[in-house]
């Protein structure tokens, strides 16, 4: 479904060339949940931006359902690391924004928005403005908006980083439930290994900048997963250790 072929990306920062992604080839199947993990600032977000069609790869090409991605890819819902809620709209109007763009009638918009707002546990905050919310709440509003947009693929850039542990679990559960329900393909960028193993069918470990694929690990844990208890199983521990063994090298080298 998503096909990256020898993709590289180099940015020009004044006179300096910064290589963010180097020669990544990767195929993501429909309905697959893929987690990309690596040290922060390694170029994972760049990868998502390229899949969304916001950046053009310097080398290589990206195909989405067989067609090359040449412009903004409106088949994906993209939850960026920085929340991009519109500051002059209330939470409800923000969440309903994709429906408004699609010219859905006002009352239907409000109903459906309230429903997802409840899903992400923001009921009671529908009339608030983004700047009145905490970082984690804004993230959940973004998630709600993305759910309402109903894209066939979700690109998530560290979506749960600002949440406390309890809420993170609830969101993990919600994400898995909805992804199964709607058959969404999910590409998740994170630096939380626990989260990656809990959610994904496949975990890709990236090197530090420039990002290259260091390890690819299938997560054969059965679904549906109990996000709370799956981490205490032996299989989980083995997978976690294998991945951590490779991942720590990236952090280790960084310090030397």
């Amino acid at each position: 479904m998503i096909d990256l072929r020898h993709v590289s990306k180099t940015f020009r920062k004044r006179d300096e060339m910064v290589e963010a992604v180097r020669d990544i080839s990767l195929t993501i199947a429909q309905k697959e949940i893929v987690a990309i993990i690596g040290p922060s600032g390694c170029g994972k977000s760049t990868l998502l931006n390229m899949i969304a069609g916001l950046y053009v790869p310097t080398n290589g090409s990206i195909f989405y359902k067989g067609a090359p991605v040449s412009d903004v890819n409106t088949d994906v819902g993209y939850m960026t690391q920085k929340d991009n809620l519109l500051p002059w709209r209330t939470v409800r109007d923000n969440v309903a924004f994709p429906l408004e763009l699609a010219r859905v009638a006002k009352s239907e918009r409000a109903d459906r928005a309230d429903q997802v707002i409840k899903h992400v546990g923001l009921d009671g905050f529908a009339h608030r403005y983004p700047q009145e919310l905490s970082g984690g709440m804004r993230k959940r509003a973004c998630l709600a908006r993305m759910l309402l947009y109903g894209a066939e693929t979700a690109l998530l850039d560290e979506p749960f980083a600002a949440l406390d542990a309890q809420l993170k679990l609830a969101m993990h559960d919600l994400l898995l439930k909805l992804a199964t329900e709607t058959g969404q393909t999910v590409v998740l960028v994170t630096h939380d290994l626990m989260e990656a193993v809990t959610l994904a069918d496949r975990v890709l470990v990236c090197t530090r900048r420039p990002a290259m694929l260091a390890l690819e690990q299938h997560i054969a844990l059965k679904r549906p997963r109990d996000v709370l208890n799956v981490r205490f199983t032996n299989e989980f521990k083995e997978l976690y250790d294998t991945l951590w063994e490779r991942l720590r090298l990236e952090y280790h080298e960084e310090r030397v």
Binding site: L54, T74, Y78, N84, P98, L101
Partner: protein, 276 residues
């Protein structure tokens, strides 16, 4: 006030007085002090006139008051006041609409804005008051030429602010909307314009006094009505009491306009959300 003063303020100013309290005159005690100071200054003026300085140059409060009362009595003051207010208000709206439209249009069309930028810079650098003779030629001695001068001063201030506001729009917000299938029209209407609003309001606010400057300047150059005409006429008659009387009226008008702007801003901020 000269045209270079007008140009000095044509830089971009962002409205950051979001938390401004409603307009107030201060506490009761302060009001008493302020009134007392005014009375003392008037007494000093009256005392100095004819003793320290020739009455011909600085007139005196009693003569000025008499002149004002005379103009109010025969109604001529209101004729002039109305002409100036009309030119200021119409000039402001014409300039504001033009500035906002131009700012948004150029803000969202990189090609056109680059094409026009040297010409717009040249026009902006030009002291607008130098255009007055041209406006008199085009629009005659009536109100239209004053409206044109007020409008052109306002237009550039509002344009620069709107343009800056449109260019400042967070690219992430635009990308986000484009990923959700926003059309170009939706992008402009639902993301770019609302996001630039605080800049537009700042531009509108700072340009109100300049509408008055444009109207008065226009009247001073060529007119048979208006406060600018009256101050010019009094000066040419060596009537210092008349000049002071008009200056007082213009100052009161300026204060009233500023007060109006403050109230409007406060109203607008009831529903507007500034920044993040």
């Amino acid at each position: 006030m000269t045209a270079s003063d007008a140009d000095a303020a044509s830089g971009r100013v962002r409205d950051n007085v979001a938390k401004a309290s409603p307009p107030m005159l201060g506490s009761g005690f302060m009001v008493i002090c302020q009134v007392a100071l005014g009375l003392v200054l008037l007494l000093l003026w009256q005392g100095a006139s004819g003793r320290l300085v020739d009455n011909f140059f600085i007139s005196n409060p009693i003569d000025v008051g008499t002149r004002l009362a005379g103009w109010v009595g025969d109604g001529s003051l209101f004729l002039h006041l109305w002409a100036t207010v009309y030119a200021t208000v119409v000039g402001f709206f014409v300039g504001a609409v033009g500035g906002v439209v131009l700012g948004i249009w150029l803000g969202v069309s990189p090609f056109t804005s680059r094409l026009l930028s040297p010409y717009l810079n040249a026009l902006n650098a030009l002291p607008k008051v130098a255009l007055a003779p041209l406006f008199v030629l085009w629009f005659g001695l009536g109100l239209e030429s004053k409206i044109a001068l007020a409008a052109v001063l306002v237009l550039f201030l509002v344009f620069l602010n709107t343009y800056a506001g449109v260019r400042e729009v967070d690219q992430d917000l635009i990308d986000g909307a484009r990923l959700m299938k926003a059309t170009r029209t939706q992008l402009i209407g639902k993301v770019i314009i609302p996001s630039a609003m605080s800049w537009v309001f700042a531009g509108l606010k700072i340009s109100v006094p300049y509408a008055l400057i444009g109207a008065v300047l226009g009247e001073m150059i060529a007119a048979n009505r208006g406060l600018g005409y009256l101050v010019q006429f009094s000066g040419s008659q060596f009537d210092s009491a008349g000049v002071f009387a008009v200056l007082i009226v213009i100052a009161l008008l300026a204060v009233a306009l500023n007060f109006l702007v403050e109230i409007m801003q406060h109203r607008i901020q009831q529903w507007r959300v500034v920044g993040r």
